[in-house]
């Protein structure tokens, strides 16, 4: 894959990349770092991508891994007020639903957002998250059930 094609594919994905990074990290500065690291890693390992049609899933998988790394580092490094970046405000509508989604554990939240919000198939979601498809199905079911239970 050439650099220009890589750039083009990345820019086409910037919305999903942002939302997934935000869904995991909830911190815009960390999202910026995550995307930078993701793109650098991806480009350095572009040779390992055998099937270019799988680029989206491949890049998203690297992003998810990078975000998880950041979460781990963050867990060991409590943020001080100096470090905390001013956060973005999310739209006011459907705040209850948003809260329900973010109350889900990451293992349920990610499949839910990748599948329902970004429109990836179960197979693609499974590929991104290193999961068997059946596990993704189960997690989607569990996520829906938790949200439904909360709303009821």
């Amino acid at each position: 894959m050439t650099e220009s094609v890589f750039s083009e594919r990345v820019r086409a994905l910037q919305g999903p990349l942002w939302r997934i990074a935000w869904a995991i990290l909830r911190n815009s500065a960390d999202c910026d770092d995550a995307i930078q690291e993701t793109l650098l890693r991806a480009w350095n390992r572009i040779g390992s991508l055998r099937d270019e049609t799988a680029f989206d899933a491949w890049l998203m998988r690297i992003l998810v891994n990078e975000c998880k790394d950041i979460l781990r580092r963050r867990a060991r490094r409590p943020q001080t007020p100096m470090e905390a970046a001013p956060e973005l405000t999310a739209p006011e509508e459907n705040t209850a639903l948003r809260d329900s989604i973010f109350a889900l554990p990451l293992s349920l939240r990610l499949p839910l957002l990748l599948h329902y919000m970004e429109g990836y198939s179960v197979k693609e979601t499974a590929r991104m998250l290193h999961l068997p498809e059946t596990t993704v199905h189960w997690r989607l079911h569990a996520a829906r059930k938790r949200i439904r239970d909360e709303w009821n």
């Binding site: 942002w18 580092r73 060991r76 490094r77 739209p91 293992s107 999961l131």
Partner: protein
């Protein structure tokens, strides 16, 4: 709710995120022009490149540290007969207080186990020291187990000196793949220094700022040292090891210790190299479990046939044929790529491995230095069957056990992120292979005498049951069961609960008798 509406729950993509993408793409462009500079990361320090071409093998100096780690470990594994065949070496390359010594080895065919020792000066400083991937007959040798390198081929280094011991002995289990009886060994150790304080294991490091590095062998804890110049303190945990960072390139392309020092975290200090021109094979005939008769049993809806078993102190070969009406679901290409040669799809389960365990339930491949690692492979057999093979390398203490368990392997709920099926329980034994040995002076062969069903007491068991339920189960949600509790098998039996005919019922084996199987040489 539509996808668009869901997306609107999130803040819009901020400009600084898009800017960062632009900057990174520019950086990539610059990187391609060999003008590497990171936006966020601190630029790397100037290479400290005092590469010392070290003395060759046999520079045996007075400060030799002769470890008996290999001999002692074999004795701990109750393999005294092999311990007696360990070759003492005491070959040392020492200079300026930095030394690498090869203390002992034992070799049997492709299996070579080395015991060596790293030592640093006792000058109050703490160094990081590790052994690079050895060369056998000029080619990089692979380890039986991924212990000194992770799957990114990152070398592990150990803190030595200062608050840590000044020397450390290591066991290196190598797969030498040499066609020659005598082989040459090229062993190199690299020593690094760091200006970061190294926090000893006993100190509570959780609250250290701004970032404390953990690198204890757990891939989840893995951090690329080269990428984190801002780390202010290094803290090994548990096993006391660090990774040097991604180094596949210099490992695969030959040894370039300078590359290790090209970071602000750890600077290259020196290298010590040992070249041993010939290591001879020297292991006398060992105990062998050897049986080529076919033995069949069933597990769940599968018919499993043991097509052969051969196990020595150093090698394990077990071949199973799995058959099922309707065949087996195959993993998709991505899953096979992710877990090549290790996964079998089983109806009712997402997928699983078959593993081997000792009678106490502990896995045969438990990543101890010498006690063996087993890799499972899967290939298509005839008529839709699956051939499942176990190939093991290591030192198996054959005379200390008389049974091997075939068990489904799984990932614990705590590792749910990896998505392995958690419905399998470690106690869900597929079969027990009973082995017998003849310790008489005339024969060192042993044989597989039977495959038998699991019985309570074979291994620690956890089962699931409800207070009022009739049965105990291996799966916590068998038949849609709710509110099940994990209890021991003994508790279940004491409560008068029989085994569930659904999730345990298919768990029967045909018990074989010793008469069926003659000794095979």
């Amino acid at each position: 709710m539509t996808r668009k509406e869901l997306q609107n729950l999130f803040p819009p993509v901020p400009g600084h995120f898009l800017d960062r993408i632009d900057q990174t793409m520019e950086e990539i462009e610059a990187m391609n022009k060999k003008s590497v500079k990171r936006i966020r990361r601190v630029s790397r320090p100037v290479l400290i490149a005092a590469v010392l071409i070290v003395a060759l093998a046999g520079t045996a100096l007075a400060m030799a540290i002769h470890s008996r780690l290999l001999k002692d470990t074999l004795k701990d594994l109750s393999v005294e007969e092999l311990a007696e065949q360990v070759v003492d070496m005491t070959s040392v390359n020492a200079q300026d207080g930095f030394s690498l010594s090869l203390d002992e080895y034992i070799r049997n065919g492709d299996n070579l186990f080395l015991s060596c020792t790293l030592k640093v000066p006792e000058d109050g400083k703490t160094y990081l020291a590790g052994i690079m991937q050895p060369l056998i007959d000029g080619k990089i040798a692979s380890y039986h187990i991924i212990r000194y390198f992770d799957n990114q081929s990152s070398m592990i280094v150990y803190p030595l000196g200062g608050a840590f011991p000044a020397n450390r002995s290591l066991l290196l289990p190598l797969n030498v793949k040499s066609a020659d009886d005598d082989l040459s060994l090229d062993l190199k150790a690299v020593f690094l220094s760091t200006d970061r304080p190294i926090v000893s294991e006993s100190v509570d490091v959780e609250s250290r700022q701004p970032e404390t590095l953990y690198a204890d062998g757990d891939p989840e804890q893995w951090i690329d040292l080269m990428e984190y110049p801002e780390i202010s303190a290094l803290a090994p945990r548990k096993s006391g090891v660090f990774y040097t960072g991604e180094s596949k390139e210099w490992l695969n392309n030959g040894i370039d210790p300078e590359a290790v020092g090209n970071t602000s975290l750890a600077d290259y200090v020196t290298t010590r190299e040992l070249v041993i021109p010939e290591l001879k094979e020297r292991v006398e005939r060992e105990l062998v479990y050897n049986d080529v008769k076919e033995h069949s049993f069933t597990w769940r809806d599968m018919s499993i046939t043991v097509e052969g078993i051969r196990m020595t102190h150093f090698d394990l070969d077990l071949r199973l044929r799995l058959e099922r009406d309707g065949g087996f679901p195959r993993l998709d290409a991505d899953q096979e790529q992710e877990w090549p040669d290790r996964v079998v799809g089983i109806p009712g389960y997402d997928f699983m491995f078959l593993g081997l365990a000792y009678p106490d339930g502990s896995p045969v491949h438990n990543y101890e230095d010498l006690s063996g690692t087993v890799v499972c492979g899967m290939e298509d057999g005839d008529d839709g069957s699956l051939i499942y093979t176990f190939k093991g390398n290591g030192i198996f203490p054959l005379s200390t056990f008389d049974r091997l368990l075939i068990v489904p392997e799984y990932w614990s709920p705590a590792e749910e992120e990896y998505g392995y099926d958690t419905r399998l329980d470690a106690g869900d034994i597929v079969a027990t292979l009973e082995l017998t040995t003849d310790h008489g002076p005339e024969s060192r062969e042993a044989k597989l005498i039977a495959i038998r069903d699991w019985k309570p007491g074979d291994a620690p068991q956890t089962v699931y049951a409800t207070d009022r339920g009739t049965y105990y189960h291996f799966t916590p949600d068998c038949g849609g069961m709710m509110n099940s509790k994990a209890i021991s098998i003994e508790e279940a039996l004491a409560a008068g609960k029989p085994a569930c005919p659904v999730c345990i019922g298919g768990h029967n084996s045909r018990v074989s008798t010793e008469d069926d199987y003659s000794l095979s040489n």
